[in-house]
């Protein structure tokens, strides 16, 4: 199949079956489904065309490699032929020639674009086919891929929330532990302050007590001294009866 034939085939497809896929006059209760069918038909035609084109592109390097190998083989066949060794040599050259030729082909921007088109058109075809299938399944009340996706998304979101909450709870647990520890420290500090204050008060009272004791002692001594003093002058001042 050469390129001209392929192009002509694609054109013919577009002009025959392809015309149906462009029909805008779909009416009635089956309109939506019919539209999908036609859309899918178009995607199918496009995909098969791209697929054929993609396969066709492989012919170029294959032919090049075959020609190159043919020339090499002709050289090998000159002179005496040793079947065993020559087979190995032939195989080696075959692999190397094809590998080298395909390296250039596969690494080209053109192949990259063809590959992307092939994958893209296959996705369109697959999606269209699955959409039709889903419609059928819905009519039979069978859960579809779309239904599952919706459920999976909900589960994903819920799981994420649960994980976030777990993480938050761990943080809160950590903070709570810190708070309990801080509270205990505070309590201890308060008790220490209270004890210190009490000790200071007791110290103050003790000092007062000592001071009072000293004062009392002093007062006692003063009283004793006064008593003594009071007793002594009464003897001296007694008048004589002479």
């Amino acid at each position: 199949m050469n390129k001209e034939f392929f192009d002509q085939w694609t054109k013919t497809q577009e002009e025959t079956l392809g015309r149906f896929t462009k029909d805008p006059l779909l009416l009635g209760p089956t309109r939506e489904t019919s539209e999908k069918v036609l859309k899918n038909m178009k995607a199918s035609l496009k995909f098969y065309g791209t697929w054929a084109n993609f396969c066709l592109k492989f012919q170029g390097p294959s032919t090049t490699a075959m020609e190159e190998l043919y020339n090499q083989t002709a050289d090998m066949m000159k002179g005496e032929v040793s079947p065993g060794d020559d087979y190995k040599e032939f195989y080696k050259r075959w692999i190397e020639t094809y590998e080298k030729t395909f390296d250039g082909f596969l690494g080209s921007e053109e192949f990259s674009a063809d590959l992307a088109a092939f994958v893209g058109d296959f996705m369109d075809f697959k999606k269209g086919h699955e959409d039709l299938l889903e419609d059928q399944l819905k009519r039979m009340s069978i859960p579809t891929k779309g239904d599952l996706d919706a459920a999976f998304k909900d589960i994903y979101i819920l799981k994420k929330k649960v994980k976030d909450m777990d993480s938050l709870r761990e943080n809160v647990d950590g903070l709570s532990a810190d708070m309990v520890s801080t509270k205990n420290d505070l309590q201890k500090a308060k008790m220490e302050i209270a004890a210190d204050s009490l000790r200071k008060k007791v110290d103050g009272l003790s000092a007062d007590l000592v001071s009072t004791k000293n004062d009392l002692q002093k007062a006692k001594m003063e009283i004793a001294a006064l008593k003594k003093k009071m007793e002594t002058p009464s003897k001296k001042t007694r008048p004589s009866k002479k």
């Binding site: 195989y91 692999i95 094809y98 590998e99 395909f102 390296d103 596969l106 690494g107 921007e109 990259s112 674009a113 590959l115 992307a116 994958v119 893209g120 996705m123 369109d124 697959k126 999606k127 699955e130 891929k145 599952l148 996706d149 999976f152 998304k153 589960i155 994903y156 799981k159 994420k160 994980k163």
Partner: protein, 330 residues
């Protein structure tokens, strides 16, 4: 070949110490009496499975690190299902990885850990280290894409034109088979023909067959990719190249690579066809770490982990770099 009824992979003894959704955190049983004080967490890519690092007992990076005294943890991302299609990069980096880092910190009683990211897991580790530098003592990146604007990798070229919105909106999660097809398409002649011809030629060698089957299992054991995370990874990294420009955001937070100031070892493979050296090397200049090293291994993306030659270099070099940095200053 008939004698081989089953193949053993990921056999290094471990236990699951934490689970969250599909994720499991594996803790490997130490093989020495006293481990280094700073634990090591391996973050693998979402593509394929983490047991690549423990594929066969005689070529296990995990076992080698254990024998060198590291307290080793590794994330097993599991297999995302339809319900995981809404997971974002924010969920992976600021959710799962952050939770796992906190578990490892709690279990080991350390304030910081060493992160070792592989491929896309390396990109995630870089994002995490930029957003949470206070948790990361050392960062090791292995074959990690950071600068996506290169023509040296087919994935980089192919991703530019991909309509990722259409892919994710249609498929939800991106199937592992889709990615596998892309990987096979990168070198169809070698990966679909020559590899199996080589296998047929050595089918009498039991050890070869076992190792081949182990690798084959790993290659095709491909989890689906959570849709939203894939969408942002392709758009922001492969198409807009925002990460290296310090313009990428996850969960509303800007990822500024200059915030990475811890010791960093950046390991890349010289013949890597998946993550070309041009994509890995720029990390070293983009960060503000003073203590940083870059190491080139003469191998490919997968060979760096399982190749017999690179096995003799990769692990010893990581160990040499990491040991003196796995102590805690008192």
């Amino acid at each position: 070949m008939e004698a081989i009824r089953e193949i053993d992979i990921g056999t290094t003894p471990h236990e699951v110490v934490y689970e969250e959704d599909k994720l499991k955190l594996l803790h490997y049983h130490p093989t020495v009496k006293k481990t280094h004080p700073v634990p090591l967490l391996v973050v693998y890519a979402l593509v394929n499975r983490q047991y690549m690092l423990d594929l066969q007992p005689d070529r296990s990076i995990i076992k080698k690190l254990l024998d060198e005294g590291f307290d080793l943890y590794m994330i097993d991302w599991g297999y995302p299902t339809l319900g995981d299609k809404f997971l974002t990069l924010d969920d992976y980096v600021n959710g799962y990885i952050d939770n796992v880092v906190n578990v490892v910190k709690r279990r080991s009683g350390t304030e910081k850990i060493t992160l070792m990211g592989v491929c896309q897991g390396g990109t995630f580790s870089v994002m995490y280290s930029a957003l949470h530098p206070e948790n990361v003592k050392n960062l090791i990146t292995l074959v990690t894409p950071i600068d996506f604007d290169t023509d040296k990798g087919l994935l980089n070229i192919w991703s530019r034109n991909l309509d990722v919105d259409k892919v994710v909106d249609t498929l939800g999660n991106v199937p592992g088979e889709f990615l596998n097809t892309m990987f096979l398409l990168m070198n169809p002649v070698r990966l679909l023909i020559d590899k199996y011809v080589g296998f047929a030629e050595k089918m009498d060698d039991e050890e070869f067959v076992k190792n081949f089957l182990r690798m084959e299992k790993w290659i095709f054991d491909s989890p689906d990719q959570a849709g939203e995370a894939y969408r942002q990874f392709i758009k922001d990294c492969y198409q807009k190249n925002l990460l290296i420009k310090n313009e990428m955001e996850i969960g509303g937070r800007l990822i500024d690579l200059r915030k990475i100031d811890m010791p960093v070892l950046n390991v890349y493979a010289e013949y890597d066809h998946l993550v070309p050296p041009d994509s890995s090397k720029p990390l070293t200049d983009a960060i503000s770490s003073k203590d940083k090293d870059i190491l080139a291994i003469p191998s490919g993306h997968i060979g760096i982990f399982v190749g017999s030659k690179s096995q003799k270099v990769v692990c010893p070099e990581i160990v040499k770099w990491l040991k003196p940095r796995s102590t805690i200053k008192k």
